[in-house]
């Protein structure tokens, strides 16, 4: 129990609470262990439990009708999962999948509602968490006007493959910074470019297999 309380007081949801409040909340929290690759929240499902990652990491993603996956965020220890569905009672917005063995602390919707009434500080904390989430997602939505991000990435690859920067290494984070996007979008863009046979990913190499295709993608109107 002491471990749980020590952990909870460091989370965004429960920061600033008294030891007595934390003890009381810890009693309502249950532990859930999930294996690597296990999907513990289904997109569109009705899981009405808020989870906080205690250890390990999980990815939040959406899957398109064509089966393409877009990672929206990574939840690390202290991060919450499934907040929106628990608060508004709607379906789960995203799926959550463990990237390693994960230990989750869960709070049912009914217990969370009791906590919000009894400890108004928690409500303030929740507002801040959700506001930050909205800020991040708005930025991601901007980046996910997908076509011109792919064009910017294609341009970067041409620069590094055959242009002035040839021979220099770059990470996906470098590409994201240069393209004005986030790493998750770069990862997906590289997959799309590979599907279009413009590039091939070979371990640590990005091989430009069709330079003309990359140039066409760069020229495409956004």
């Amino acid at each position: 129990m002491a471990v749980k309380v020590d952990f909870l007081k460091q989370t965004a949801y429960f920061s600033g609470l008294s030891p007595a409040a934390l003890d009381s909340i810890a009693k309502l929290v249950f532990e859930k262990k999930v294996d690597r690759s296990e999907i513990f929240v289904l997109e569109g499902g009705t899981e009405d439990v808020l989870y906080i990652v205690a250890s390990g990491a999980a990815k939040m993603f959406k899957t398109s009708a064509e089966g393409k996956e877009q990672i929206l965020s990574i939840a690390r220890p202290g991060d919450s999962v499934n907040d929106v569905a628990v608060f508004d009672g709607g379906p789960n917005l995203v799926a959550a999948q463990a990237m390693s063995p994960v230990v989750l602390y869960g709070l049912s919707k009914s217990h969370l509602e009791k906590i919000l009434v009894e400890y108004p500080q928690v409500a303030n904390n929740v507002i801040k968490v959700l506001a930050n989430r909205v800020r991040y997602l708005v930025s991601l939505v901007e980046d996910l006007s997908f076509k011109h991000v792919i064009g910017r990435i294609a341009k970067i690859l041409l620069q590094y493959g055959s242009g002035a920067e040839s021979g220099q290494r770059l990470t996906q984070q470098d590409m994201a910074a240069m393209a004005g996007t986030v790493r998750e979008v770069v990862g997906r863009s590289l997959k799309v470019l590979e599907e279009e046979k413009a590039i091939k990913l070979d371990h640590h190499r990005i091989i430009i297999t069709d330079e003309e295709a990359l140039k066409r993608i760069i020229e495409e109107p956004s």
């Binding site: 690597r36 390990g56 690390r76 063995p101 493959g161 290494r169 770059l170 996906q172 990005i206 091989i207």
Partner: protein, 66 residues
């Protein structure tokens, strides 16, 4: 020469998430430091880079003309 993920020990906070998410057990802790162990098993999935909140672990790409 086999390419390895690049680890910056000054940025590494020892959280161990990279070791946990690696599906091929490529990364291990030696003391407090994450190091690459089974080099030949690394398939450059870059999940370790994705998971590192500190930017301590990177998987740089070389872009080449085919």
């Amino acid at each position: 020469m086999i390419e390895l993920p690049v680890i910056d020990p000054e940025k590494c906070n020892g959280c161990g998430l990279c070791v946990e998410v690696c599906q091929h057990d490529v990364l291990v802790f030696i003391g407090d430091i994450v190091t690459v162990n089974k080099v030949e098993e690394c398939d450059w999935c870059t999940t370790c880079e994705l998971i590192c909140a500190e930017g301590a672990l990177t998987c740089p790409f070389e872009v080449v003309l085919g």
